[in-house]
């Protein structure tokens, strides 16, 4: 069996805790663009956000900057512009340091790193804008069609801003992004960590379940083997014991010559103890058969009163010896039932035997056989309307009441457990294995019946066996 605590070693790089996230993964881009747009609305300076690989994530354009668009229409302007773009994309940035870059037009860009956990994950390219206090740029000729008047008009429309203010705005934007990244990172870690923890627990539970299932199967197999062993051993014990009893009987009857009174008494004891042992072994055999599900019933139509009478006659000699009276009454004429007569007699002999054994001097055992009805199993439940429930079942109840010591209330529920006796020490006083009632209950249940007990300590007990008239098949 595998150790239930063992789980496969996961890939050390598998956990989200080891993962390196990109800017896109940590930011909700749509919300982020809204934030960027609001920055633009406030300060009217366009800007771009690039990730660590130089991919453009956000581009907020200023309507006041048509100068770049105009210059871009000339091949000379286009080429110079492209050079500037690649410069501002690739210029190395240090965490916490904002770089300035003035383009060939004289317009200014601020480059701020986007930092998360000490690493630069991208950059803000803020601008272009025209720093206040500087003279308007003069863009050199871009070729034949270039019109300096148009360029001068577009320059006049440019957004002018103070360097200090823009610097503050960029720092603030970088901080805002850093907080957004932190929140995104926290969210990513918790949500994925949750899944990882649940997955790990699930895998562990699955492995434990498998191990438990395996051990359950093994135990079931062992239990079956134990029952088989018990059944075989009991059977093998019984065979020679039958011979011991048989030969003792022959000795006692004088088949091997007349015995002296003393010899007869000894042989009598051998027989009596042999019978006791046989009873015990038969009990174990029955019990192991029931436990292993190997008990075969031989049902037939039987008269419950006759069975009760037969059981009474079996316990009568013991009752006389103990000075206990046994009475049998049958109030109505109970119907015949489909049952295994021998097994039912065994149950009744056991209960009546107890009623005699645990009785007081000059006590009484009353056996009553009567008709009864019990709600069928389904109608006992309330998940179907009464109208749909099957009718009550017709049954026979056999009640055995005694005037004995009674059973303490705490023990009532356990007396049908195997090997249980109310008082362990009473085994010696009253004899028995503690199997009788367990076997009785099993036999009654195999018949689809029930066995119950009521008791008042010091006044006596009443056992009720209820067997359905029709056996369920």
């Amino acid at each position: 069996m595998s150790d239930p605590g063992q789980v496969a070693a996961p890939d050390a790089r598998a956990s989200v805790l080891q993962k390196t996230f990109s800017l896109e993964e940590l930011l909700d881009l749509d919300s982020f663009r809204e934030v960027c747009q609001s920055y633009f609305d406030l300060f009217q300076i366009g800007f771009k956000i690039f990730d660590a690989d130089g991919e453009l994530l956000v581009d907020v354009k200023s309507g006041s900057n048509d100068l770049c668009g105009y210059l871009f229409t000339f091949s000379e302007g286009k080429a110079r512009c492209a050079r500037e773009v690649s410069l501002i994309r690739e210029l190395p940035l240090e965490p916490g340091v904002i770089a300035r870059h003035d383009c060939f037009t004289g317009l200014r860009y601020l480059l701020a790193p986007i930092v998360h956990e000490g690493s630069v994950m991208g950059r803000i390219v803020y601008g272009p804008y025209l720093p206040t206090g500087t003279s308007p740029p003069v863009v050199g000729s871009m070729g034949e069609k270039y019109n300096p008047d148009i360029a001068a008009r577009l320059v006049a429309q440019l957004r002018r801003a103070q360097n200090e203010v823009v610097d503050k705005v960029v720092r603030h934007l970088a901080q805002t992004i850093e907080v957004m990244l932190y929140i995104g990172y926290k969210h990513a870690l918790t949500s994925r960590m949750h899944v990882e923890a649940v997955t790990a627990s699930y895998t562990e539970l699955q492995q434990k379940n498998r191990a438990l299932q395996e051990s359950y199967q093994r135990l079931k197999e062992l239990d079956r083997l134990k029952s088989n062993f018990l059944a075989t051993v009991s059977h093998e014990l019984r065979t020679p014991l039958t011979s011991v009893i048989g030969y003792s009987e022959m000795l006692q009857e004088g088949l091997a010559g007349e015995l002296t009174e003393e010899q007869k008494s000894y042989v009598g004891t051998i027989m009596e103890k042999g019978e006791q042992l046989l009873g015990l072994i038969s009990g174990i055999l029955d019990f192991s058969k029931i436990e292993s599900g190997n008990l075969q019933l031989n049902p037939a139509a039987i008269d419950p009163v006759e069975i009760a009478k037969s059981a009474v006659s079996t316990v009568l000699p013991l009752a006389r010896k103990q000075g206990v009276t046994v009475e049998l009454e049958s109030l109505d004429s109970p119907p015949t039932i489909q049952a295994d007569g021998d097994k039912l007699r065994q149950v009744l002999v056991n209960i009546m035997g107890n009623a005699v054994k645990f009785n007081r001097q000059n006590g009484r055992v009353s056996v009553r056989v009567e008709r009864t009805r019990r709600p069928s199993r389904e109608s006992g439940r309330d998940d179907v309307p009464v109208a749909l429930a099957p009718p009550d079942e017709e049954c026979v109840r056999i009640q055995v009441a005694d005037t004995g010591v009674g059973i303490p209330p705490d023990n009532l529920a356990r007396i049908f457990d195997s090997f249980y006796q109310v008082d362990g020490s009473s085994t010696r006083e009253y004899g028995g294995t503690g199997l009788g009632l367990a076997i009785a209950r099993s036999l009654v249940e195999i018949h689809g019946g029930t066995i119950d007990v009521e008791s008042t300590q010091g006044q006596g007990s009443r056992f009720s066996v209820v067997i359905p008239v029709e056996r369920e098949t």
Binding site: G5, Q6, V7, A9, P10, A12, R13, A14, S15, L17, Q18, T20, E117, G118, S119, Y182, Y185, K186, L189, T190, M193, H194, E196, A197, V198, A200, S201, E204
Partner: protein, 234 residues
């Protein structure tokens, strides 16, 4: 497992604060967070429940750039101590480079300390890691409380064991930086032996430590108690 990214010139180490429930792992990290320079450390991410019990982990990144241009990042994690979070502890422990085991000094917590140590050893094993290969320092926390194991007793167990032992009161902030320094040094030495970090990154152990701890003064009176030879759980 240390992550070395030569292309981005970045190396990431993972240190985990382990220990029984309520031994003060989060408090350790909070104390470290308060004492390190904001230039060196990031935000302290605390993922706890409404009653302040760690749910998944706490995380605080510490980082600096070496003169050779390498970014060295150390991620300090705590695990949730409650028994029911075992699978989370196992996930957090994946790829760990060093462990600061935060034991509870209180006398009645000896059993919990031991159980947590065994739990850690088992979780390391399930992650394919050998406790003998991972640097571990032991911190006896809550020294400010009554009914704790005596200094002599701790000195004695420190002498018998193989792991460096520190005494701390995370709540008062004593001993936490010493513990951090202890586990950082042990981890650095171990990784240097494996990957020749000093040679590759051109950073020596003392420089590595001073970059992180900076001016967060370490009380030299609290050196680790020297371990002896025999091993054993705290």
């Amino acid at each position: 497992m240390v992550q070395i990214n030569l292309e981005q010139r970045e190396i990431t180490l993972k240190i985990v604060y382990y220990g029984p429930a309520l031994s003060g792992k989060t408090t350790n990290l909070q104390a470290v967070h308060q004492r390190l320079s904001p230039d060196t450390r990031g935000r302290l991410m605390v993922l706890d429940t409404s009653d302040d019990r760690t749910l998944f982990f706490d995380l605080m990144p510490v980082y600096f750039k070496t003169s050779s241009g390498f970014t060295i990042k150390i991620k300090l994690f705590t695990v949730p101590g409650q028994v029911m979070h075992n699978s989370t502890r196992r996930v957090v422990l994946q790829g760990v480079d060093g462990v600061a085991f935060v034991a509870d000094s209180q006398k009645h917590m000896i059993r919990e300390n031991n159980d947590s140590w065994r739990d850690m050893a088992n979780n390391l094993k399930l992650n394919g890691l050998d406790i003998k290969e991972i640097p571990v320092v032991i911190q006896f926390n809550k020294r400010d409380l009554d009914e704790v194991r005596s200094d002599e007793e701790i000195a004695e167990v420190a002498q018998k064991g193989t792991e460096p032992v520190y005494q701390a009161s995370a709540l008062q902030g004593t001993g936490v930086l010493e513990t951090l320094e202890g586990i950082l040094r042990a981890t650095w030495r171990n990784l240097d032996k494996k990957y020749r970090l000093e040679e590759k990154l051109q950073v020596e152990e003392d420089e590595f430590i001073s970059h992180i701890l900076g001016n967060a003064k370490t009380d030299t009176a609290q050196r680790p108690q020297e371990p002896g030879r025999q091993g054993g759980a705290p």
